[in-house]
């Protein structure tokens, strides 16, 4: 057990990193899709699209790593969670299809650009709602029988999952707006700044709502968060959220270019830490722990070797690609 403990925990950490990388990276480009109808047709939309066109594909690869990694490292969790959230996962995948092809198709077909812009926005909204609802569905618990899912195909649909879905929608939109502050200038930037202000307030309200609703769920979440002496540690999370939020609104008003985005990442990191406090060491709360779900040591070690050596290289060339496309986004389509 003790030997195994290490591998399963390390893998939980690696997957948490992959999921967080996905959320912050695809988060801002999904966010731009969510906000897309709010941008003026023409320059503002083209600028927004151009600011993510070279990187969205790499961003979405982290989702593939999340799916493939979960199957490889915690096959039992993969085999329970995906059937339990089946309609959500299918909706997310189809949403990603629509928004992914829109990047190329809208340039290819100027006459139907408005149509592909709708596909881009609707796909982004559906994918985000579905992701947020999957998260809520896992948090509220899944009916497990033996080594599989034992519930119906719409069990996930509750007020709580609707709340987490909307919360993520607000969060991604905020990431998108703050990303655009750094990538645009002039009227487009001022617009993004105004949107970020309203979304920042909405984001704090959403975080508060999810934080209040979670301990009211069936499990012992309240004990994890509110029992003494653990509360001395867990209370730091909302405290840091307040500090980050204050810094966020200050930098927004003082005309910060990159700080609003980085501080939004900070809010996401804190939300993610909160999620860790609620869940660890379960992958399916109160039913399957990471040790129950972990693949045999032979599989975990084999992947660990590759992951530890390759992920730094991936981060290296991804950073280089971002560096190549640094600076403000232009507006032109064809050259």
């Amino acid at each position: 057990m003790s030997n195994f403990f290490d591998l399963a925990t390390i893998w939980a950490g690696i997957l948490a990193f992959a999921i967080f990388a996905y959320v912050v990276m695809d988060g801002f480009d999904l966010g731009i899709g969510i906000l897309f109808p709010g941008f003026a047709v023409g320059d503002e939309r083209d600028q927004a699209m151009n600011s993510i066109a070279p990187v969205w594909d790499g961003n979405e690869t982290w989702l593939v790593l999340g799916g493939g990694g979960l199957m490889a490292a915690f096959p039992l969790a993969y085999a329970i969670i995906l059937p339990a959230t089946y309609p959500l996962v299918i909706a997310m995948l189809l949403g990603l299809v629509f928004r992914g092809v829109a990047f190329e198709f809208r340039w290819r077909d100027p006459r139907h650009r408005a149509l592909w812009d709708v596909a881009f926005c609707a796909g982004s909204v559906i994918a985000t709602l579905a992701q947020g609802m999957v998260l809520g569905a896992v948090l509220q618990g899944v009916h497990v029988v033996g080594r599989g899912y034992g519930g119906g195909w719409l069990d996930w649909l509750t007020p709580f999952t609707v709340l987490t879905g909307v919360a993520l929608l607000i969060g991604y939109a905020l990431l998108g707006a703050t990303w655009l502050i750094g990538k645009t200038e002039g009227a487009a930037q001022a617009h993004a700044r105004r949107m970020a202000f309203g979304l920042g307030i909405a984001m704090l309200m959403a975080m508060a709502a999810v934080s209040i609703a979670t301990p009211l769920l069936a499990f012992d979440y309240w004990r994890r968060w509110l029992a003494f002496p653990g509360i001395l540690l867990t209370a730091q999370v909302p405290l840091l959220v307040v500090i980050t939020a204050v810094l966020f609104f200050r930098s927004l008003q003082r005309g910060g270019e990159r700080m609003p985005f980085l501080l939004t990442l900070g809010l996401f990191a804190l939300g993610f830490a909160g999620l860790g406090i609620s869940m660890f060491p379960y992958v399916v709360p109160r039913a399957v722990t990471i040790w129950d779900a972990a693949a045999p040591a032979g599989s975990l070690v084999f992947m660990l070797v590759g992951t530890v050596t390759i992920i730094p290289v991936i981060i290296g060339y991804t950073a280089w690609a971002y560096y190549v496309f640094r600076g403000k986004a232009g507006v032109a389509g064809y050259h």
């Binding site: 199957m71 969670i81 189809l94 629509f98 992914g100 198709f105 599989g148 195909w153 693949a295 280089w320």
Partner: protein, 463 residues
Amino acid sequence: MDFSFDALTLARAQFAFTISFHFVFPAFSIGLASYLMVLEGLWLKTGSGVYANLYRYWLKIFAVTFGMGVVSGIVMSYQFGTNWAVFSDKAGPIVGPLMAYEVLTAFFLEAGFLGVMLFGISKVGKGLHFFATCMVALGTLISATWITAANSWMHTPAGFVINAKGQFMPAGSWLPIIFNPSFPYRLVHVVIAAYLTTSLVVAAVGAWHLLRDRRNPGARKMFAMAMGMIAIAAPLQIFAGDTQGLNTLEHQTPKVLAMEGDFEPSPQGAPLILFGIPSQKDAKVYYKVEIPQLGSLILKHSPNAPLPGLKDFPRAKWPPVPIVFWSFRIMVGLGMAMLGLAVWGLWARLRGRLYETAWLHRAAVAMGPTGFIAVLAGWVTTEVGRQPYTVYGYLLTAQSRSPLAAPAVATSLLAFVIVYFAVFGAGTYYLLRLMAHAPQAHESEPPHVPQRAAGLVPAAGLE
């Protein structure tokens, strides 16, 4: 019981549908990435503008194809869990790490350098841009390697033990798992198929424009390059297919017997059935046209060598014979037609009439989509031939599926069908429109992302 049969059939239909749609895109983009690498390399080496223009011409087509490959591929990485949960739980410890390595070593590489390849030519310099193109091409090949290893393991599982939870787990080294008995043959067959498919498309596009203007330098160059590649790849592919057939005979005998339509054992040597109507129920091929002893000559390299028949195996282990029988014939028939096109092209080239033989160009246009059809037919042959198992000999397909009710799977299948036909239909239309456009002397770049470093003022009038 009927209920679960329905959900199983629907789940199989959904997987077949989503993977068939997905498979078409990489089959094209693997070859196209390598072709772009060759074009850019020749451009850098010779400085000839025709290569630069062809590079830009095909890069636009690559961008659209690759985008569709990515989004249909993300679907696949979740389809195992959504619809084949029991398979994922049991085979995840083996198949999962192979796919995780595919993501780590290939998908990130392709995605990381694709942005620079598509939009970065004015930002990074020629050398680095060529490097980005090479990395994307390398990524497509690494991806093919891992996914073929995972798929081959499902056909010829090796190097595993089954633990107390019923999971397949590595017995020790991963080498026998990766280099399982059918992997090398399958990998060669798949990669050549991708190159052949791409060459056929490139040749068809070149031929289409030669029929309109036989002096178009871009059309001439792409047609000559593609016909040369077909002349190399088509015969190699027939040879590679033959060796994979021998490997399949050794490890998945019923699959080969279904391909051949051999229900009865042939102790004195098997014929080659060219055509016929196989009946699973009657265990018989009706109206068959056959060449005596040729089956044994091909599979055993000896005309009188005995071959077993499907009747030597229990019926429960037979794959659906008519599907495998027909899809195999479609693949082989198209392969022979490709060889014919290659020979014709060589003949025209030797006579110095490669650009003037209009009927050759018409034939090349007609053959343009056959690579895709052959790839799908081959895929159906091998995957339907693997039935009734997911992990051959160890895990039945009927015992691999998720505990989902039929209406859930039916709804999602319907959604996939509608969305895929709409979205990929539009994409195919855009691809055809790009291809219908004759290559220009100053080919435009893909939709551009002009950006400038922070702090610089843009020059007035600079687009």
